[in-house]
């Protein structure tokens, strides 16, 4: 089998030798130019004067462009046409690009970009959720509200009621490779773009619009990214368009890459949220009615805020059956960088909301948090027929037919020794006056599919050459997740050849058109299937050739071990390819796949937005210092559902990496803006992603090896985003440790920096 096997990432030998090529590594033609943006130094206002004379005179500067110099569309938004590449005179956030410097080198462009003298009429910016609510500054007319049952009545009549609020910060992607693009002008006005992007097709569209040419005049290629995490879904548009404009103007190749500080200031981040909750529940902890009021800061432009906020609502239930629920979502417009996609895409924020509620209920009842969760779980897959559980539906009316967390939980609690460790930790805490340990348990059930239904499509192009070597191409992009490797395994499996026969090639809008972003964890589900369909088409043609040659029926053939075998004869795959060529049979095919059975009305909040759910469990043990709030993750156990994994090693890699990134979001990673709207944490010196020693000392990750009941590619499940939410268990563990300090519920906010932990300890002790 080529699939279900832990082959290394196809680029690993290149990575470790420094030979893997990223955009900034591509050799440049002679005379190539380098770009940098001049940035606004206020958060809101009007530009009254731009004196760029010093910029133009600076060493190495070839051209300086403002909005007036743009020949066609001045827009780099993914759809709403509300993000000018260069300011049209209005300033919406601190760090907004105002003008573009084209210079002989990267350093000279950066130096010149700081010489602009901009005069503004400053206005008072809207920076916080509170300020945006007060000013009713929002996207869409008002809050979006979805409901199921009658939450108000259910809460009122419940024997127990609590309410609270959790705030959670945003998150900088900190892809190690910053944003980068390169434009190579072609003849006849065409443009070739190399972009570090998750969405080559969108880059193609934005560049074409900016150049005033049809889409066919722009070819975008992406071999790999040095990390994306959602931050390269729409945020690369500005660089690619700037390069294209400058390349058109100068006739020279143009490259732009953001310096790290510029990258962190200019580009969007994860949406921060404030979630208010009110919940009624019975003595066992079963939720009878619940209401969430979600408020998120979208920044100055729409970008992807609506689907992100939708997904936060869609994950407000997480693993729990809610009969009476109302979810309200406020999408607020602020003078900050436009928040954007980030692994989980609102899902983690929604999940953290209800996980907080679960812990709060358990604390209120003095119950075990795991018990409270289990009592609220959806009904399991086996028992769940529509007749048996007519109401096993999500708040948005989708029937849950594939819930396996109940069974997983039983196994997991045993393998992670939950009960014993709970007891040991209680004893340890009783003996320790200063340090306290905590345990946090969190399940995740994550919906797989783009909620914008039409995006759930993918194309592929497969060529078999006459020597039997195979070249595959598809619309998905490689950002480190191992998509190319998985898809190559799919192709090798289908043709029954060794993976060495498969060549994986860069994503290219000229090979597969009209692609969706590689996002929503959909990469291997969609592109794997499209490639398989293309391979099957060719395989069927080859089968006819072989059957005729062997004198058997095509159905009797087996493609395996690099051969095609009939019941009595065998020939190497390469010989069959040559024979097919000589027989004038086409050895090239496209493949096209669309996810079946989806329907979704996002305004009503009703339908079946997801094909299936990926699930998993995490248990984290932490220790905190009650004097300072310092803390460490000591151990993490994870059981994750990747279906019948296409590549267990790569999937475990996603789980480990997702966990640490999720824990980082909720602990050390703190974005700080000052009262002028300036981001104060715009470099790794001040913004702290997890370092090596922040990973758990003991880190046990297992896959729940059961095939996806839905007909996905080789019955695997998507794995990109769901494990991110395992990091929530670290946050809950911190809260648990704090609870060992006093009787009150700690109401911990995220990120749980030492300072927030210390404040929560005081709340637990009722000292505040």
């Amino acid at each position: 089998m080529s699939v279900h096997r832990s082959s290394p990432h196809d680029s690993a030998p290149l990575h470790v030798g420094g030979a893997a090529r990223y955009v900034d590594d591509i050799p440049l033609p002679r005379g190539a130019l380098h770009l940098a943006f001049g940035l606004s130094t206020i958060a809101k206002g009007r530009i009254t004067d731009m004196d760029l004379s010093l910029v133009r005179k600076a060493l190495g500067v070839v051209a300086v462009l403002t909005a007036e110099d743009l020949p066609f569309a001045n827009d780099v938004s993914p759809g709403a046409h509300d993000e000018p590449l260069l300011s049209d005179g209005t300033v919406h956030y601190h760090g907004q690009p105002l003008f573009l410097v084209v210079a002989e080198s990267h350093l000279l462009a950066r130096k010149a970009a700081r010489l602009g003298k901009i005069t503004y009429t400053e206005e008072t910016p809207i920076l916080t959720i509170k300020e945006a609510l007060a000013a009713d500054s929002r996207f869409e007319d008002g809050p979006r509200v979805w409901s199921k049952g009658d939450s108000r009545t259910a809460i009122k009549s419940a024997p127990n009621r609590i309410s609270g609020r959790i705030t959670m910060g945003g998150q900088e992607h900190f892809y190690l490779e910053g944003q980068a693009a390169l434009a190579l002008p072609q003849d006849n006005g065409d443009m070739e773009i190399h972009s570090s992007t998750q969405h080559p097709t969108e880059i193609q569209h934005k560049v074409a619009e900016a150049l005033g040419i049809p889409f066919h005049g722009v070819r975008v290629e992406t071999r790999r990214m040095g990390g994306g995490f959602g931050g390269k879904e729409s945020q690369g548009n500005a660089l690619a368009v700037a390069c294209a404009i400058a390349a058109r103007l100068t006739g020279r190749a143009c490259k732009m890459r953001y310096d790290r500080d510029d990258d962190m200031v200019i580009t969007g981040k994860r949406h921060d949220f404030e979630i208010d909750y009110e919940v009624g529940f019975d003595q066992s902890g079963r939720i009878l009615g619940i209401e969430f009021d979600q408020k998120t800061r979208g920044g100055w432009a729409l970008d992807l805020t609506l689907p992100v906020a939708d997904r936060a609502m869609l994950h407000s239930d997480n693993a729990y059956l809610l009969d009476h629920v109302t979810i309200t979502s406020h999408r607020l417009k602020t003078n900050t960088a436009s928040a954007t996609a980030f692994r989980g895409f609102g899902g983690p924020q929604g999940v953290l909301g209800i996980e907080r509620v679960m812990d709060h209920i358990a604390h209120t009842l003095g119950a075990d948090p795991v018990d409270v969760r289990r009592i609220n779980y959806y009904a399991p897959m086996q028992a769940n027929t529509a007749a048996a559980h007519p109401t096993n539906t999500t708040p948005y009316g989708m029937e849950v037919t594939d819930f396996i967390l109940g069974e997983m939980t039983e196994n997991f609690l045993e393998s992670a020794a939950y009960v014993e460790r709970r007891r040991e930790i209680d004893a340890w805490n009783a003996a320790q006056p200063i340090l306290k340990k905590g345990l946090g348990f969190s399940p995740v059930k994550f919906g797989i599919s783009f909620t914008l239904t039409h995006l759930n499509q993918a194309g592929a192009l497969v060529h078999v050459y006459a020597d039997g070597s195979i070249r595959i191409n598809h619309g998905g992009t490689e950002m480190g997740q191992g998509l190319f490797q998985k898809v190559a395994q799919v192709a090798a499996q289908t043709f029954g050849v060794d993976q060495a026969a498969i060549k994986i090639t860069a994503t290219d809008t000229a090979k597969v058109p009209n692609t969706s972003a590689t996002a929503a964890s959909s990469g291997s589900d969609l592109n794997g299937m499209a490639v398989k369909i293309a391979c099957d088409t060719i395989k069927n043609r080859l089968g006819e050739v072989a059957a005729k040659h062997f004198g058997c029926a095509p159905a009797e053939l087996r493609f395996e071990g690099g051969h095609v075998n009939s019941p009595s004869k065998s020939m190497p795959f390469a010989d069959l390819a040559a024979l097919a060529y000589q027989s004038r049979v086409s050895l090239s095919s496209t493949g096209f796949y669309k996810t079946p059975d989806l329907s979704w009305d996002r305004i009503a909040g009703k339908g079946r937005p997801f094909f299936y759910f990926a699930q998993g469990l995490a248990l984290t043990e932490v220790v905190i210092d009650t004097l300072t709030g310092e803390n460490r993750i000591l151990r993490a156990d994870i059981l994750h559902d990747a279906g019948a994994s296409l590549n267990p090693a790569l999937d475990i890699g996603q789980v480990e990496g997702g966990y640490v990134q999720g824990a980082g979001w909720l602990t050390t990673e703190e974005l700080v803006w000052d009262d002028k709207g300036r981001l104060r944490t715009h470099a790794p010196s001040t913004y702290k992603i997890p370092a090596c020693s922040d990973r758990p000392d003991v880190f046990n990750v297992d896959l729940w090896d059961a095939p996806n009941p839905m007909a996905t590619i080789f019955r695997s499940k998507a794995v990109g985003e769901p494990p991110f939410m395992h990091g929530i268990s670290a946050f809950l563990a911190l809260s648990d440790a704090i609870s060992a300090c006093g009787p009150k519920y700690p109401m911990l906010d995220a990120p749980a920096t030492p300072e927030r932990i210390l404040a929560a300890i005081k709340r637990a002790r009722d000292e505040l």
Partner: protein, 453 residues
């Protein structure tokens, strides 16, 4: 400047601007694109290279390493870390799935190869300066462990031998502290550069031009640590790495603080003198040194003067340093048995202190006979907690005395709020550190880094 060094075994002679970085030169002039720019400030490690000189083999950040600093040394980039094919670390990284996006990988590999050559297995420390956003580090550690004990590549010895064949004289760089002293009196506006871990950022981030510089790397006498009987004389150009290894046994609390100072790559370049002379209120060395009662030795021409380190820091950005005068050495007591250093930051490794408290309290027969307590991050300069110290000396060593000292802290400090912590947290935690010190001396567990699951 004319310099000569080894690049991947090849002798390179070139004329360079003094502040051109190795990273830019590798990528733009040599087309060695394997070494990556991740942050351009020495915080992410994507640009890590392996450098060998007479002091040994080490990892350094190429993004803030000026080319003249390499004179007479041998540098290896990710493209040339194996002798025949890949280094065992690289092979293990493939087999153990240690790379995902691959962008941090060259730097990770370089750090691990340097660690491998040194026989290191303290991977959390070896890799503290290498950020990876994809893997969660676990497979990288598995790879590092798998490569333990494998053979070192031949180039280590080959490069080492070849170093002696380099013939170009050093570019202008004082060879001794005497030469430096004489030159600096005549060029008081010049910038002295030792490790460039701070000055590097003036160039890569502030985009400053530095018209006149002197590299201190050849002043080997400033790299000495001398035993003066009661005191150790630590030359200003002693790197943090050399300092840590020298003080590991004698000053364990300080050595552990130094372990958490920046990262391996930065400690391999940064010097004790640089961390003092830059006058930062959040440098990690000064509070510890002040608590020890360190003396600073300043030199102007042939004239030397010593002063208590705390007196060097006058105000934010202002030090008691005269024109043409430089930090020559710092003197610390040979034994400081009661010293404890508590660094509070958002992340344990490679972070800047929100608060750093260093305690050195002598207790005899239950009575406090001396107290030196210094803080960083609490004021415009590293500073002694004078009132708190006064509240303790002569009193019994008790919780009551600790509480009085904590109360006195209100008179000592009025910290500010910034992106690292609020003023209230800083002052509150600074006080709590008195409790930690008291508890630790009573034998209680106070350090989350020492707790295991």
């Amino acid at each position: 400047m004319d310099i000569e060094f080894l690049l991947n075994g090849e002798t390179i002679r070139l004329t360079t601007a003094p502040t051109r970085t190795l990273l830019e030169w590798l990528r733009e002039e040599r087309d060695l694109k394997g070494t990556k720019e991740g942050c351009n400030e020495g915080d992410c490690g994507a640009c890590t290279v392996v450098v060998q000189d007479e002091s040994g083999i080490k990892a350094l950040n190429a993004c803030i390493l000026f080319l003249p600093q390499l004179h007479g040394k041998a540098v290896r980039t990710v493209e040339a870390l194996g002798s025949n094919g890949l280094h065992p670390v690289q092979t293990a990284m493939i087999e153990h799935h240690g790379s995902q996006c691959g962008f941090c990988t060259p730097g990770i590999v370089a750090s691990l190869v340097a660690g491998h050559a040194q026989g290191r297995t303290d991977y959390d420390t070896v890799l503290a300066g290498n950020l990876c956003r994809c893997t969660g580090y676990a497979p990288i550690i598995r790879a590092a462990q798998a490569a333990e004990g494998t053979e070192r590549p031949e180039w280590i010895e080959e490069d080492r031998q070849k170093l002696s064949t380099l013939t170009t004289p050093a570019p202008f760089a004082p060879q001794t502290s005497d030469e430096l002293a004489a030159w600096y009196v005549d060029h008081p506006d010049a910038q002295l550069i030792a490790g460039a871990t701070d000055v590097g950022l003036w160039v890569t981030k502030q985009l400053r031009d530095l018209p006149s510089v002197a590299f201190l790397g050849k002043c080997t006498d400033l790299q000495d640590i001398r035993d003066l009987g009661d005191h150790l004389w630590i030359g200003a150009a002693v790197t943090m790495t050399a300092l840590r290894s020298a003080l590991l046994e004698s000053h364990p609390a300080y050595a552990e603080l130094v372990r958490r100072y920046a990262s391996e790559q930065v400690r391999n370049a940064a010097t004790i003198g640089g961390n003092i002379a830059n006058g930062s209120p959040i440098g990690d060395n000064p509070p510890a040194l002040i608590a020890m009662g360190a003396q600073l030795q300043l030199r102007q021409g042939d004239a030397r003067r010593n002063l208590a380190l705390e007196d060097f820091f006058i105000d934010y950005g202002k030090q008691d340093r005269r024109s043409g005068e430089f930090v020559e050495a710092v003197l610390i007591p040979k034994i400081v048995p009661d010293l404890k250093c508590y660094k509070i930051s958002k992340r344990f490794d490679q972070d800047i202190s929100a608060v750093l408290g260093c305690f050195n309290v002598t207790v005899e027969n239950g009575t406090v006979t001396a107290a030196r307590i210094a803080f960083g991050g609490m004021a415009a300069t590293p500073k002694l907690a004078t009132h708190a110290m006064q509240a303790m000396v002569g009193e019994t060593w008790s919780a009551e005395t600790i509480n009085r000292a904590k109360a006195a802290m209100d008179k000592d400090f009025r910290p500010i709020s910034d992106m690292r912590a609020s003023a209230g947290y800083r002052l509150g935690v600074a006080k709590s550190l008195f409790d930690r010190y008291f508890a630790e001396r009573a034998g209680q567990a106070v350090n989350v880094l020492e707790v295991r699951a």
